[in-house]
C-alpha cells in the first residue's frame, strides 16, 4: 500500500480513515501564486488586469473565435491572475498573439479593463520569458522594424529587407535572381533608395526612447 502522506492525526487519532488510500483525489494543482500577476501588472497596458471579475463579456463579443478556436481573453487573464503558468505557455502561447485589436472587448468591459492592452501585455510577458523559441518570420520582422524605428526614426527599405533576411538566416534567398531583379526595378522606378535620409537630431530621441523602453 502506498504511503499515506495526508494522514490527519489529531490527539493521537487518525481522522481521515483508510478510504483515502484507494480513492485518489482529483487535485489538478496546488496553491495559487500572484507572482505572474504582479509581473504583468507592471508591463505597459497591464495594470487594469486586476479589475477583471471574469464575466466573459470580452470573450463573448470577441471577433476572433470564429477564426481562431479557443481564443479567450477572459481565460488568459484568469490564467495569469491565478498563476497557471504551465497552461498559459503550453496551450495559449500561440493564441495570445492573434488578437487583432478591434477593441470590442475594451469598449464593452463593464469593469473598465483595457482588455486589448492586457492581452498584449500578457503576450509581452510571455515574450520576455522567452517561451517562443525560434522567431517566426512575423516576429522577426516586428523586431527589426521596431529596432530600426528606434535607431533611425524611419524605415530604410533596403536595410530592413537585408536585416530581415539575415535575421531569419535566408541571405542566400535574398541574392536570388528574382529578388535582385525586383530590387533593381524598384530602385530604377524610385520606389526605394539605396541610402535613406537621416532625421536631424534623432540621436537624442533615440536615447530617450531606449531609456523609456528599458
Amino acid at each position: 500500500m502506498a504511503e499515506n502522506t495526508d494522514k490527519m492525526v489529531i490527539d493521537g487519532v487518525e481522522l481521515t480513515g483508510i478510504w483515502k488510500e484507494f480513492l485518489p483525489s482529483r487535485i489538478l494543482y496546488e496553491d495559487v501564486t500572484t507572482e505572474f500577476l504582479d509581473e504583468v501588472k507592471k508591463l505597459p497596458g497591464g495594470s487594469t488586469i486586476v479589475r477583471c471579475y471574469q464575466c466573459g463579456t470580452c470573450s463573448g463579443g470577441c471577433t476572433l473565435p470564429d477564426f481562431v478556436d479557443k481564443f479567450n481573453p477572459r481565460r488568459f487573464i484568469d490564467l495569469v491572475r491565478r498563476g497557471h503558468y504551465d497552461i498559459l505557455v503550453n496551450e495559449n502561447k500561440d493564441l495570445v498573439w492573434k488578437c487583432v485589436s478591434c477593441q470590442r472587448c475594451t469598449h464593452r468591459c463593464p469593469r473598465g479593463v483595457n482588455t486589448q492592452e492586457v492581452v498584449r501585455a500578457i503576450a509581452k510577458f510571455l515574450e520576455d520569458r522567452k517561451v517562443f523559441g525560434k522567431l517566426t518570420n512575423d516576429e522577426a520582422f516586428d523586431e527589426i522594424f521596431m529596432e530600426e524605428v528606434i535607431e533611425d526614426g524611419r524605415i530604410d527599405e533596403v536595410k530592413i529587407v537585408k536585416d530581415f533576411y539575415s535575421k531569419t538566416g535566408r541571405l542566400k534567398e535574398m541574392m536570388s535572381a528574382d529578388q535582385l531583379s525586383l530590387g533593381f526595378k524598384m530602385l530604377t522606378s524610385g520606389r526605394i533608395k539605396l541610402f535613406g535620409g537621416k532625421i536631424k537630431d534623432w540621436k537624442k530621441v533615440s536615447q530617450r526612447l531606449k531609456e523609456e523602453l528599458q
Partner: protein
C-alpha cells in the same frame, strides 16, 4: 398614555424605542443580556461596510438616545416569560434577577434579532477541530482594538500573525444540508470588508476569498468589491470551499476553481468562515411566548410581506429587524423607525 414594550436591545430595538419615545410614548425596553447593542456589541463589530466607519459611530448615538430619554425604561438582564391578553392591552411577565413582575402594555415590538450560524455543523470545514479555522464574528472581535487580541489578527493556535488567509463564503447559508437554503445577505460584503481590513493592516498578507456568487446588492457594496480587487489585491476564487484538512501541520483547503474547471488544494495559515445568519435564540423564544408565526427557518413571518411588513400574525404585536430574516445594520435602523411609526399609528386608533 399607553406604554410600548420593546423586546430586544439591538440596533432595531434601540431605534424603535427612541423613535417611539420621541413621539411621546412611554417605552419599556427589555434586553436579556446586561448590555445594549445586541450582536454588534456582543461580537465587538469593529468597522462597518461599505464606508469602513467604526461600528461605535453608529451604535453609540443610538444607545445614547435611548439611555438619555426619560420616557424609556431600560431593563437589562430581563426576559419576557409569559404574555397574556391581546391588543390593545397586553399583560407581560418580566423575569430578571430580582424576580418576576407583571406590566401592562398597549403594543409589543419584537426586535429579537439573529444569531450567528454555528459552523461546527459543517464538519468538513473543521471548525472546532482546527484552532485556526475561525468565524467572521471572531475575526471582527480580533480586529477591534478593544477585543481579545487588541486589534491584531492572530492565529489562535500559536498567536502568530497569519500570512495566507482564506475566507469561505456561504457557510450555513444557501445550504439545504443544514436547513438554511436562504442567502445570509451580508456575508459577501462582510468578508470583502474584512479582507480589506486585513490587507490594510498587513500589506504582506495574502487573502483569498472562495465564493459562489458575490452578492453585492447594498449601497456601495459593489464598489467595495471592486476596491478589494483593484486596490487591495484580494484574490477572489469562484468555487465553494469543499473541505479543510491538515497537511504537514498546515491547514490545507480544497475547492474547485469553477471558472477553470480545476480542483485546487491550497495551503493557508488561517481560514475564516463567513458564517451566515440564523434565527436568534431570542427570536425563537419570543415566537413561542407570544405565539406568533415563524417561517420555515425560524424567523418571524410578517402578516403580509409586501403590505404590512412590520405586523406579526397577531394584532398589536409588531416585528422588525433581523428577526424577520437576515438584514444589515443600515436596514435594521430603517426597520426600527418604520415599526415605531406603525406602532404609533395603531395606538392612536
Amino acid at each position: 398614555m399607553k406604554t410600548v414594550l420593546v423586546i430586544g436591545g439591538g440596533v432595531t430595538g434601540l431605534k424603535a424605542a427612541s423613535e417611539l419615545a420621541g413621539m411621546g410614548y412611554n417605552v419599556s425596553l427589555v434586553e436579556k443580556e446586561d448590555y445594549l447593542g445586541g450582536q454588534v456589541a456582543k461580537h465587538k463589530y469593529y468597522k462597518l461596510a461599505p464606508d469602513l466607519r467604526l461600528a461605535g459611530d453608529v451604535l453609540d448615538p443610538v444607545i445614547k438616545a435611548v439611555e438619555s430619554n426619560p420616557n424609556i425604561k431600560v431593563q437589562k438582564h430581563s426576559q419576557i416569560i409569559a404574555v397574556s391578553g391581546g391588543a390593545p392591552e397586553f399583560k407581560a411577565k418580566i423575569k430578571n434577577s430580582k424576580g418576576e413582575s407583571e406590566e401592562t402594555f398597549g403594543a409589543i415590538v419584537v426586535a429579537t434579532g439573529f444569531g450567528h450560524f454555528d459552523p461546527t455543523v459543517k464538519q468538513e470545514y473543521g471548525y472546532g477541530r482546527f484552532k485556526d479555522v475561525v468565524t467572521n464574528a471572531e475575526v471582527e472581535e480580533m480586529l477591534n482594538p478593544n477585543g481579545p487580541t487588541k486589534g491584531e489578527l492572530k492565529r489562535p493556535s500559536d498567536g502568530n500573525i497569519p500570512k495566507k488567509i482564506a475566507i469561505f463564503q456561504c457557510v450555513g447559508s444557501r445550504d439545504r444540508q443544514v436547513g438554511n437554503p436562504y442567502c445570509c445577505r451580508v456575508g459577501c460584503v462582510v468578508s470583502t470588508k474584512q479582507a480589506i481590513e486585513i490587507k490594510e493592516k498587513y500589506p504582506d498578507s495574502e487573502v483569498y476569498v472562495y465564493y459562489m456568487d458575490m452578492r453585492m446588492f447594498g449601497r456601495g457594496w459593489e464598489e467595495l468589491y471592486g476596491k478589494a480587487m483593484e486596490d487591495y489585491e484580494v484574490i477572489f476564487t469562484r468555487g465553494r470551499g469543499a473541505e479543510v484538512t491538515l497537511k504537514n501541520q498546515q491547514l490545507s483547503l480544497r475547492a474547485e476553481e469553477t471558472i477553470m474547471d480545476r480542483p485546487i488544494q491550497h495551503s493557508v495559515d488561517m481560514i475564516i468562515l463567513a458564517a451566515g445568519m440564523s434565527a436568534g435564540e431570542g427570536t425563537i423564544d419570543a415566537a413561542k411566548v407570544l405565539g406568533i408565526k415563524q417561517n420555515d427557518y425560524g424567523f418571524l413571518s410578517p402578516k403580509d410581506d409586501f403590505l404590512s411588513p412590520n405586523e406579526s400574525s397577531k394584532p398589536g404585536i409588531f416585528i422588525a429587524g433581523a428577526d424577520k430574516g437576515p438584514m444589515d445594520i443600515e436596514n435594521c435602523i430603517v426597520e426600527g423607525a418604520a415599526v415605531a411609526a406603525k406602532v404609533a399609528g395603531s395606538l392612536k386608533n
